[in-house]
Every structure is written in C-alpha cells, then in structure tokens.
Amino acid sequence: MTDNDTTPQDPSATAAASQLFAYAPAPESRAVVDLAPSYGLFVDGEFREAAAGKVFKTLSPATEEVLAEVAHAGEEDVEAAVRAARAAFGPWSALPGTERAKYLFRIARVIQERSRELAVLETLDNGKPIRESRDADLPLVAAHFFYYAGWADKLSWAGLGPDPRPLGVAAQVIPWNFPLLMLAWKIAPALAAGNTVVLKPAETTPLSALFFADICRQAGLPKGVVNIVTGDGATGAALVAHPDVNKVAFTGSTAVGRQIARTVAGTDKRLTLELGGKGANIVFEDAPLDQAVEGIVGGIFFNQGQVCCAGSRLLVQESVHDEVLDALKRRLATLRVGDPLDKNTDVGAINSAEQLARITELADAGEAEGAARWSAPCALPSEGYWFAPTVFTDVSQAHRIAREEIFGPVLSVLTFRTPDEAVAKANNTPYGLSAGIWTEKGSRILKMANRLRAGVVWANTFNKFDPTSPFGGYKESGYGREGGRHGLEAYLEHA
C-alpha cells in the first residue's frame, strides 16, 4: 500500500499473480485400486464367465483407456442369476430382521473402510471428478446402507401394517451416472426388506458393482442374495422380462422406462421407475444471489450435468436476469475442467462417446433454433470425452433445449415476471422430477413448492440427497420413491 491510488493494479501483473497461484495438478493415486484384466458375473456367490463366453470392454472416458474386460451376460446367465436369487430368497427372508440388519451394517462398514478405493474406481470408470466421488457418492453409498440396515429389524414400524412381507426376487437395472450410489439405492432397501436381488449395472460403468460383489463376500453375505449380471440393454431386457422375477426397479431414461412398463404389463411384477427430468431452478429477485449462483452451478454442472434431477432450466426473474447471468458467467470461468482424478477438478469427462454425441447434437440444435450459446473459457483435453460447461440464453419454451433432457453440462436460461408465470413455465413439461426455488421469503417457498409438479423441491439449495429423504418423480419422471421410509414400500407387501 505504498500509494493510495485505488485503481486496480496493472492487469498483466495481477494475471501473473493468478498464474503463479495456478494450482499444480494434484492427482489422487490410482494405486489404491487393484484392477484385474477381466471380470466375471457374480452369481450365487461366485464369479463366473458368461455361458456364451461373451465379453465387452469398459473404458475410462477421460482417456479412452481400456480398464478391463467384463463378462457379457446372456439369457442363460440371467436365468442362472434369477435361479440363485430365488433359492436364496427363502432362507434370507426367514432370517430375523436383526440378523439381516447386521449383514447390512457390515456392508456399510466395509464400504466406509474401502471408500477411497471405490471412489477412485468410480472416477476411473465413470469420468466424474474424484472430489465428487470422494465427497458425495461414497459417503452417500455408505449412509444408505446404514440407514436401511436399521430398518431391517423395524419393518413393522414402516407404516405398512404389523407384519409386511418381502416381495421375492428383485430385478434391478441401474444407470451409469452414479453407478455405486444407484446400486445402494436399489440393493439396500431390497435386502433390508428381505428380498434377494439380481442387479444389472450400466454397460459403461460395470466395475463398482463387481467390486461391491467382493464387499458382499467380505461381509459374509449368504450366496445368492446379491447377484450381479453385467451386459447391455439386451441383458437388462432379459432380466426384466424373466417370469420368476417379482419386482422390477429401474433407473434410467424415460424411453426405456416406458418399454419396461409395457413388458411387465399384465404380470404380477411390482414396478418402480426413476426416469428423466428437466428440472426448473427458479431464482426470484429477492434470492440470496451469491448462494443462488452456487446453486445454479451445482444444479447443472454437478456430475457434468448427467443427473436426472439436474436443474437444467434456469428460470430467472427478469429484474435480476442480467445480474445473475453476469455472476454466473464469472463463476463458470473459474470451473476447472479436466482430469477427473485431479482433486482440484470441478467438471470431469462425459461418460461415453455416445452420450457426448447426444449432448453435442442437442446443443447444436439449440444454436440452430436461435438461442445464444456461451461456453466457459476452458481448455479441454485431447483424449477422452469432454464438453465445456455451456449456457444458452434467449431460450424459449418451444426450443428443444428447453424441453428435452440433455443429460450434460448445458444450462438453458429462461425468464419470468411473476410467481404464476414461474409455476406455469416450470410445470410445462412432461417430466416432474425436481425443482429449485431461490428466495429469502419463506411463505413464497412453501407456496411455490405446493404448486410445482415435481417429486423433489429444493429451496435455497439444490441437488441434496440423504438416505432418509424420499426421491422420485411425478408424471413421466417415473413412479415410486427411493430413500426414506417411503423407499421401503417398493420392496414390501402390506400385511
């Protein structure tokens, strides 16, 4: 402070200060994960090759490196897995709840013990930043098993009658965006309620489920209670269609959800679906703006926007539109896109070439339809699948980018003038999974929440998850709830 002139310093000097302070790469060690060259299916407590001997490769989306070969389950394998689950169902469901609880507590503890290994594995196979797999996915996975462990011996308190009964064999098909967390959401309540499961992980992210199989072994879980069949859409379809399955649980796209609903039509199978979304994040002029900007960023760029409940539509009140957009762009310029294993990375790789193509196509359509495209200034790696955080302004309800789920780091900005208009625009979609409200006025939060047709409404926060809190959609975002006491209902019969 030698001079009391208060103009900002010479820009070249301050740019130099920022550069000197540029964070050096801080990669998390890959050494904590011991990857085998190939993995089999986990059926009846053992790893085995697919009956037809088929395999597929799983890649690291950040580098396109082949991580491992994985068995590709066919109908015969699905048959074996369902048979194993059926055989295990009797003894498992007959165990006292206290004993099932203790198995689940063991699994939760082993997940906690191995959480760094699993976080690195998840980041390798999925492309998500290690900061998220380490600080969000894995703690939630362990917490989910803890929570449902506690329910296993308290089912009579779940509000489903004095003696609710398990359904039997659950066929569970999960997506690639939160591989292990979606596994936890499916397996923990199913097992707590006394069901046995056959789970099919996504084709592009099979590894953490197979590591979970090893955790079941360490926990001493009886064989056949959990079976993992890896493969593609055909594997999932065979599992869902299997006649000896009592329950189907699916998380994924609305299109596939519709197919599954048709498949189980006319059977006794119980079905829960957690599907797509086009969440509206509504920012009022009296919002806590700095936190709202963080919430917008977290709402759409968390997990590269590959989140079914992402706040992909920003509805901002016209009076603060410019202020919010300026702050948002300034903030997005600080996002660090790159190596997912770097602890400083905020935005990682898109999960697959196919998904990248889908995002690219929709973003191009947005531009073609006349919306204004802005991308954060960031260098993208040359290998792997990447998409820069992108914001579209001047978006109207008619644009594809305002209607279709992009499932990528692309935010569409729309405006509103009154609460009624915000509600009308937010609800004007076939989806109904999530919504966000930003205002300091409590009564407005509650009124808006009442009127929004969405299964989860976040106020002055976004993308919050907890095992005690039910999650699921209205309308074409699916039916049934996962998490909380309500999540048990999907796996129990009233009695």
Binding site: A101, F105, F146, G150, D153, K154, W157, S443, N450, T468
Partner: protein, 294 residues
C-alpha cells in the same frame, strides 16, 4: 472379571473400578468404596460409592454435553451408537464373565444376555434417523400453513438402571435415552455394578463425547434422591427404584415437572421387544407453523 489367579499360577492384575463422569474416570469424590460380591458371596471388587456431589458433577457434565449431542445429526448419533455395539462385541467374553458373576448366571445364559444386549444397541442405533419419521410428521391443518411436528430430546435424563439385569437391563434403559439426543446420568445396579462400570470404558472409546453419559455406582437411594430433586435434570427413568423409593422419587421429580418413567409392576422382562416407549418417554414434540403464500 477378576479371578485372583490364572490357570498357570500367575497372579492376575486386578482392575480398579471407577466412576465415569465428564468423559473421565474419577474415584468417588467422597473417597468411599463398597464391596461387590458374586452370587456366592465371593469378593469381586471394591466399587466406588458415589455421593451426591458425584451426582451433581455428573449432571453438570451431562448438561454441558447436551448441546453437542442433541445438535449432532441423527446419522452421526447413529454411527456412534453403532460403534458402541462394535466395541461391546469386541469385549463380549469380558462382559459375559462379568454378567455371569454379577447375576449368578451360567456361562451360556450370561453369554445369551450379553449377545442380546449387543443386538439391542444395534437395534437402538438404527432408530436414530428413523424416530422422527415414525413419531413426527406433517399435519394437514385447515389453513394456508405449513405445519410440521418433530421430536426433540428432553434434556438431561437421570437413569436408575435395573437392579437385577446388570447389562441387558442397563442397555435397554440407557440406549433409548441416548438415541433421541438426550444425555444421561446412570445410577448402576447397587449389587451388580461392575458390567455398568465396564460399559463406561466402552463408551469412553466409542467416539461418544465425554459427559453424554455419566455412570455412578453406589447406594441407589442416596444417589437418586438428589438427582430426582435436581432442578437441572429434565427427566428420570425409575427402572431401578424398588419398593417405596419410586413413589418418593416421583414426588420429588414433580418440583420441576420432570418427565418420569415408572418402573414396571412386577419383574421386568428385558428380553421382550422394547417398542418405542422408552424412547418417546424422553422426547418433546415441537410443532412449527409457517404461512404458505406467494
């Protein structure tokens, strides 16, 4: 369990049993001890004979710990309670031996009681983040109002542990008080205090913050009277009050309207499904109203 000699003629090192107050293991402030014997009258140990001042110190520590324990997330409390079960399991043999000596049980029966006590901790640990979902909820009031009721802990609870079931009974009265977020001052069984004093060692090594539980051994009535009358104690569980003591303590507790859980009529069956009663007895219900409008 203290046997004076080991099988190979080596002289055993005996444990000095101490009180547990504020996360530390003091001797009684009074300097007194009393003789604890097994069912056959054989000497087991000298237990501290806690005084009213020890009771006062334990209440101060429990009050100090209340903010942190009640303010912890339910998930966090559940993790800690489950950790206690893990540590108990690790000392299963020790507890089974202490229970056998304390209650005059066969090895198998003492083992079964110990196992049941561990499983009960696990059962209660699981309640921490479910209680509000079962006993709380949204109320559909007739008006534009959000209305939500949630349970909250009462505060500092004095717990008179059952006189006969030295571990299973103790766990069955202590865990439900803790799971809701209360802190506790436990008065052990008079004649069978050793499992409780050993349990304190488990609590001290399970990430449970100091002061959340105080454990006092000695004459039940002598310690319970000041606790029942204490103005900074919010509730009292009279499970271990026998004869006319329960009524006397309940009357004393009326002064600051302590919540009182009376002892069962006749001998208690600690192996039965406990239900919610021992948890809800020490919970308040808080209802929040908020207008709903644009």
């Amino acid at each position: 369990m203290s046997t004076p000699e080991t099988s190979r003629g080596r002289l055993a090192v005996l444990k000095t049993y101490k009180l547990y107050v504020g996360g530390k293991f003091p001797r009684s402030e009074s300097g007194r001890v009393y003789e604890v014997t097994d069912g056959k009258g054989q000497w087991l140990a000298n237990a501290p004979l806690a005084s009213r001042k020890d009771a006062r110190d334990a209440v101060v520590a429990a009050r100090k710990a209340f903010g942190g324990w009640s303010g912890a997330t339910a998930y966090n409390r559940g993790q800690i309670l489950y950790r206690i079960a893990e540590m108990l399991e690790g000392r299963r043999e020790q507890f089974a031996a202490e229970v056998a000596a304390a209650e005059g049980l066969s090895k198998a029966k003492a083992q079964a009681a110990t196992d049941a006590a561990i499983d009960r901790w696990v059962w209660y640990a699981g309640w921490s983040d479910k209680l509000a979902q079962v006993v709380g909820g949204a109320n559909p009031v007739a008006g534009p109002f959000f209305n939500l009721s949630t349970p909250e802990p009462t505060g500092v609870v004095a717990v008179l542990a059952p006189q006969r079931s030295s571990l299973l009974g103790l766990v069955s009265v202590l865990a439900p008080v803790l799971v809701g977020g209360n802190t506790a001052v436990v008065v052990t069984s008079r004649d069978a205090p050793l499992p409780a004093l050993s349990l304190a060692e488990v609590l001290a090594t399970s990430d449970l913050p100091g002061g959340v539980v105080g454990v006092l051994s000695g004459d039940t009535a002598e310690i319970a009277r000041p606790l029942a009358a204490h103005q900074d104690v919010n509730a009292i569980d009279l499970a271990g009050a026998e004869g006319g003591l329960a009524a006397e303590l309940e009357a004393a507790a009326a002064e600051n309207l302590k919540r009182v859980l009376r002892p069962t009529a006749g001998p208690a069956d600690w192996t039965a499904d406990p239900g919610l009663e021992r948890m809800t007895a020490f919970l308040e219900t808080k209802t929040v109203w908020h207008p709903v409008g644009a």
